[in-house]
Structure formats: structure tokens, C-alpha cells
């Protein structure tokens, strides 16, 4: 697959917006991979956390926007805790999620009717509330 890297994408609006609202500088990352080694959700991810950061460095907007990884991130902050450069990928993942959820006509990623009554009776409120906040448009 041919990948085009252009100055306009590296400096593009999307990448700049992710940097701005996450408050993180992607260029601090030197790709050691500690984040991906410690991430509890990598089995369900299509791009590793370190790859998400690499793609953002290269301005690969479409690849990052469509990745599944942001949706299976559990915001556990282990990536940040173990990053030798202090990059907080949990903030980058959240920035990617909210930018998708703020798009006009954005759809939610969970539906309460998908859960059985039995499951809803057992699941704590904090699971439902944080799930709504992470996966539904505000």
C-alpha cells in the first residue's frame, strides 16, 4: 500500500486539533513501545497505541480517524504512567473519540437496549454513566 506523507497533512487541521484538545505533543514520542506493551486493550486494537501516535506524527488523518483502537481504550492511563517521555495517550484517545462524537450526525457506540435486563440489574451505575460519556455524542 502506498502511503503519501505531506507537509499539509502533518501540519493539518485535524492533527492540530487533536494536539490542541489533548494538550499532548506527539513529537515527544520516540516510539519505544512501552505504551503498547502495557496496554490492557491491545488484543482488540487495530492500531497499537504507539502506532496511533506515529500516524499522528505523520499526519495520517484518515487512518487514525477510522481506527478501532480509540473505542476499546479503557482510559486506564497505564500508557502515560509508563511513558519515558510523559506522553498521555489516554488523552489522545479521548481527543480522537470526542472529535468523532462531535461530528454532525454522529452515532453512539453503545445502545442501552443491547443489554439484557439481567445485566442492567447487575452492572453498577458508574459503568453505565462512564460508558454513556465515552461512547455517546454529548
Amino acid at each position: 500500500m502506498k502511503t503519501v506523507i505531506s507537509r499539509s497533512q502533518v501540519k493539518g487541521d485535524f492533527v492540530s486539533k487533536v494536539a490542541e484538545i489533548s494538550g499532548e505533543n506527539f513529537f515527544n514520542c520516540y516510539q519505544c513501545g512501552n505504551c503498547s506493551a502495557g496496554c490492557p486493550s491491545v488484543d482488540e486494537m487495530d492500531l497499537l497505541p504507539s502506532q496511533v501516535v506515529r500516524y499522528l506524527q505523520l499526519g495520517l488523518e484518515e487512518e487514525v480517524k477510522s481506527c478501532k483502537s480509540m473505542w476499546v481504550c479503557a482510559s486506564c492511563m497505564m500508557c502515560h504512567a509508563r511513558c519515558p517521555k510523559g506522553v498521555d495517550i489516554s488523552k489522545i484517545m479521548e481527543a480522537l473519540r470526542v472529535l468523532r462524537l462531535r461530528e454532525v450526525g454522529a452515532e453512539g457506540h453503545i445502545d442501552v437496549t443491547d443489554f439484557s435486563d439481567d445485566y442492567l440489574a447487575r452492572a453498577p451505575q458508574i459503568a453505565m454513566i462512564s460508558g454513556y460519556r465515552k461512547f455517546l455524542p454529548l
Binding site: P40, W71, A74, M78, A123, P124
Partner: protein, 291 residues
Amino acid sequence: MKYPYFPGCTLYTKAKKLDDAGRECSLKLGFELDELKDWTCCGATFPLVNDQHITMSGPTRILADTKDQGNDKLVTLCSVCFNVLKRTNNVMLNDEERRAKITDFIERDYHGEVEVLHYLQLLRDEIGFDVLKEKVVKPLEGLKVACYYGCLLLRPVKEIGLDTMEDPSIFEDFIRALGGEPIEFPYKVECCGAFQAVHSMDTATRCSRDILRSAKNSGADVVITTCPLCQFNLDDRQPEIQKSDPGFSSIPVVYFTQLLALALDLPAEELGFERNLIDPLPILKEKGVIA
């Protein structure tokens, strides 16, 4: 001594046993949890992006109420509430621009005056584990406990400041004070899958499996937690784990206040153990912790 207390929504309902035991034990230890008046849900998530302020309005209002009701401290039992309130308070304390936006919106004057404390922190720093040890009536002798911290009680370490990141010890010190035997296991600060329990069930199941296996392989009789979401994932996922791994043997997951209550000789039948999917009573009886 009274400490202002924020129970949070889950502790009023599905994690009532965490709350009940915490309140009862405080009386035995010589202090009282004084419930905040007119509290609301904390929102259960701290916003991780810089331009989202609305989700901090709830926790800020709770903190402003705490101050206006004449308090300079606020105690929580739930790790999620603790994390959200503590991080929101840090923003109120240190970030002038965001503070102005939020306090203008909710029309309150608040500058981060309240200190948010976790119950464990209260026991360690205000009561003292040495004093706790003296008050123990029935030491948890011989009980091997896996102290599971999870994420929100610790991270981000610089902001939360409860303990170190990779090898915290507050929970182990607590169990030692109760006369129990904390075991070391490599997954004590790993994530249980958290809110992925309502999105990617596979993540929650796999994360829980790894933590429970690690605890079991390290010789634990029981896993303890401070978080209703961790307790739910770790307890509720076990039948599913067993389906894919028939060799997996189950292990009960209880709240730290329930073990505290047993050590302070509160009756086991009043601690809500029947609400656990994996029944803790057989192992607690076998180890002689309860009759």
C-alpha cells in the same frame, strides 16, 4: 471526629455493602462519616480533553457545597468518585482559565479549597494504621489477600498522590494492620477493563481473567478492591472466563471495608456477602475468619 463524606450513586444502591461497612467501621474506629447534604452524582468520568468543561460542573458543585457546608475535607469510598473529585479539585486549584469558565457557569465561588481524601488515605494518614491495628478484634490470621488497586485509585500518580505507580503499598499495609497476609501479584495495578464492560465485553473479560489468574497463581484466597466497577468486572466475568478456560478456578472479590468489618468483629451476615456472584463465605470459613 466527623469527616464530611460523599457516598456517590453506586454506593447508595449496587455497592451498598461497600458503603454500609465503611460507615459501621468508622464508628468502631472513633470517627463518623457525615454525609454531605444534597449531593449529586460526580459524573463518573473526568474529562481527558482540555476543551470539555461541562462534565466538571457536577463535581465542582459537589466540592463547592462541601466548602459552603463548612468543611475543608471530603472523604470518598469509591475509587471513581475519588478520582473525579480529586482531579476536578486540582483543576479548580491550579487552572485559572478553566476554573473561571466552570464557576461562572454554575455561578459558584470555588477555588479548590477542599481536600479530597480516600477512606484508605484517611485510615493511613489521619487515624494511623498502628491505631487501626490496636482496634482489631478478630485479626484476619492466615487469610491470603490479593490487594487489587486498579487504575483510578492511583493514576495519574502526580495528580492523585496516594501512592507510587508500579509498587504501591497502602493496601498491603492496611491488610497487615488487620492481621491478614497480603500477597504480591504482578497484576495489582493493571486495569479490569473498566467501562468497556458496556462496550467491548471481550476486553473486560480478558483483563479480569489475567488479574484473577495472577492473584490465584500467587496463592490468594480472596481479592479486595475499593472500586464498585472493578468489583463488578472481576466478580461478574468469572462464569464467562470459566467457559473459555475450564481450568480456571474461581476466587471471591470483596470490598476492603468488608474485610475491615470482619476484623472489627461486625457480624458477617450483615455485610452483604450474599450479593457476590462468587461466594466468599466458604473460604472465609475455611480460613477461620468467620465461624
